[in-house]
Symmetry: C2
Subunit: 257 residues, 2 copies
């Protein structure tokens, strides 16, 4: 009997050209599909919650797939982790309703952008955080981040891409900056994200730090709908897909990490 | 005028065959000396606080060297970091008295052994923590760790090595196990450490977890002076040199991390 399964993954994106399979480049999806083939001998169609770019990390990445193979879900997790390289881990697997689709059923996602804010780099965070030398005023950036909240047209915060549909409006439900010792974290959740949106939001916050923008300039940047009005695209290495939101029955949700 | 300088380093040891220069193997010392030569054009004699083994990390590693070159200490730090790879960082440099020696002046060191205790590995901790699948009772291990405190002959906790002198007595001043979420940390400080001592202490604590030993067996293991009575040598990847203790004037100490 065919089951629809939701799998959760974590990965360090440093060694990958993003999630999606590409010619002549190592991708998380390619490596995952190879592990799946090693375990089951089949190549099911995988629906992913989203793509991640080269060097972007995931603390929770979700995918769904329909599987006729009868392998118990716990055994599938263990077997996949056996075949996957150490920088990718399957953290969970559970059955979901037949109409569940990791991308189309997604209600929203949370990203975190991590900045190591110290004059000296941290050897343990190479490829895992942006290194920012000069002191960051996290409260100032947090004031700026409040202006992202709510429903806005985020065209100014998007690298234009033929893949994008015409609607650039997104609803941001969480947006804050916090300091934890020498680490500064920008957390943002929304019902959806445009291409490079979190990295441009981060780059714009760093523009506030650098005096290029005031926190109160962000509404005007949003209204401009002009990419050149926003800040730079912050490097991929600091970006983590942190959480993917679905409406799923409580019982199934209890299997979550 | 010749200055005696104390430098502090951090490094991720994953990519190195330990601290010490070896033929045909990449060592932290070798890479550091090359960076020093790139900056100053000289190869001063480096006195290190200790050696670290292949794959062992350092959050604070200390070395001293006598330098005739007049480069200001802040500039030396910046220039070395420019030439060093991203998994090594110089975090400080300060002048110390002429008779200071990073090894002989050392009063003691603190190590931390980190264990990721979760059924699924953590892709962000590969090479940076031991992955231990089964639940660890950190309070049980902490009770066992108390028996390491004080002055003991640690022959049973030493990989015998021709380099070691005849005195195997060391004074352990801190020894405790704590849980922080899914991470379990064993912290141990002593006036000195024998070869593989922390890794065998950790392996013995894990032997307590596995029921091979009771916490109260540790005094008898110490008294046996027999390596085969203690637990296994835990893998290098979880071990961090955390702190090196010196008696130095307060003013100089204020420059510390």
């Amino acid at each position: 009997m065919e089951r629809n399964l939701l799998l959760t993954l974590q990965y360090d994106g440093s060694g990958y050209h993003g999630w999606q399979v590409q010619e002549n480049a190592r991708s998380v999806q390619g490596v995952f599909q190879q592990a799946l083939f090693s375990v089951l001998g089949v190549r099911p169609d995988i629906k992913a919650c989203s793509r991640t770019d080269t060097g972007v990390h995931a603390r929770e990445f979700c995918l769904s797939m329909k599987l006729s193979h009868g392998i118990p879900t716990e055994r599938l997790v263990g077997a996949l982790n056996h075949f996957l390289p150490p920088d990718i881990a399957v953290t969970g697997c559970r059955p979901v309703p037949p109409d569940f689709h990791a991308r189309y059923s997604c209600r929203g996602k949370r990203y975190v952008y991590e900045i190591w804010n110290h004059p000296v780099r941290n050897p343990f965070l190479y490829g895992r955080a942006l290194h920012y030398y000069h002191p960051i005023d996290a409260e100032l950036l947090n004031r700026a981040a409040q202006h992202y909240l709510g429903r806005h047209d985020f065209t100014a915060f998007c690298t234009l891409d033929k893949r994008e549909a015409g609607d650039f409006c997104r609803t941001v439900t969480e947006s804050h900056v916090e300091r934890d010792g020498d680490m500064v974290r920008f957390t943002v959740a929304a019902d959806g994200f445009l291409y490079n949106m979190v990295r441009i939001m981060t780059g714009t916050l760093l523009g506030v730090q650098q005096g290029r923008f005031a926190p109160e300039d962000i509404p005007a940047i949003l209204q401009s709908r002009d990419r050149s009005c926003a800040g730079v695209t912050a490097p991929a290495c600091g970006l983590y897909l942190q959480k993917v939101f679905y409406d799923l029955p409580e019982e199934a949700a209890a299997n979550e990490e």
